[in-house]
Amino acid sequence: MNNFLTRTMLVLLCCLSGMMVFAQNKPAMADIMRSNGKIYVVVGCCLIILTGLFLYVWRVERKIKNIEKGNV
């Protein structure tokens, strides 16, 4: 419970710091999103897709290798 409270406070604090960035008339970057930690979700998804893609290509290569050896 305590953990949850500190986390909420942290998120709030980050949101506030994000607003401060806006106030300083700087371009709005993903400071809030990153402090929330949600960007890691996107990274995870992309890595899963990438791994899947590579596994697929690898499997296709294995099949071709099999055919090359003569056992169709």
Binding site: K26, P27, A28, M29, A30, R34, I39, Y40, V42, V43, C46, L47, L50, F54, V57, W58, V60, E61, I64, I67, E68
Partner: protein, 232 residues
């Protein structure tokens, strides 16, 4: 296993691209904001395409020198992978431009459709598209290989003028062009900073290696199906 080190390298580099590309700090720029990270994906597609087309060009020359069917096969396979990368680069460019060019001060859709970089890239891709049409229109194998090898050299000669030189001569919104400083923060090599380079070069190498890997698979399939032709 010894021969597949570059496939593993490609995987490692792309994992690095996706993690570092999303998480590392990037230059804070107006209009572009976080989309600067597209450098690792959109630009890497075009770089990969150019490298793959260079390989295809080399094999076309090799075919004309030695008239070996294998070289023609290699040139076609690399050209088709290059087309895939080019189409991916174009589509990602459409998405990127629609959020950074259209929203800009005085740009509208009609001004973007006149973009020399877009037109140039489309011309380059269409020229390569015609390469496959040309190949398909021959029934005689030797003639097809010879004519398409010559055409591939011509297509390659048109590639760099249409995607690099002309957009720079006439000015364009696309980063790197002389007029771009007015509309968009330029992404020429003077202000692409070391933080971007740290991910960009590994990204280019990783994507290119993946493209080469897929091409080798295509080549190996063709080598099996065209076995009778290769034993001449």
């Amino acid at each position: 296993m010894q021969k597949s080190w570059w496939k593993i390298l490609s995987f490692v580099l792309l994992v690095y691209t996706f993690t570092a590309g999303f998480l590392l700090d990037v230059p804070h720029l107006f209009i572009l904001n976080e989309t600067i990270r597209n450098l690792y994906f959109h630009v890497a597609m075009w770089f990969g395409m150019m490298i793959v087309f260079i390989i295809s060009f080399v094999y076309s020359i090799k075919y004309l020198r030695h008239t070996k069917y294998k070289h023609d096969l290699f040139a076609t396979a690399f050209a088709s992978t290059g087309m895939v990368l080019g189409i991916l680069g174009y589509s990602t460019g459409i998405l990127w431009a629609s959020y950074t060019w259209v929203t800009d001060q005085s740009q509208s859709l009609s001004s973007i459709l006149k973009e020399p970089k877009l037109i140039g890239a489309a011309i380059a891709l269409l020229i390569y598209g015609a390469y496959f049409v040309l190949r398909g229109s021959f029934t005689d194998m030797d003639k097809r290989a010879r004519v398409s090898a010559v055409y591939n050299i011509f297509a390659f000669a048109m590639l760099f003028p249409s995607i690099w030189i002309i957009p720079r001569l006439v000015g364009s919104l696309h980063p790197g062009a002389p007029g771009s400083t007015t509309g968009n923060p330029a992404l020429n090599f003077n202000d692409i900073d070391s933080r971007l380079r740290m991910v960009f070069y590994p990204a280019v190498i990783g994507w290119t290696l993946l493209a080469v890997w897929i091409t080798t698979l295509k080549i190996r399939i063709r080598l099996i199906t065209d076995k009778s032709l290769l034993n001449e």
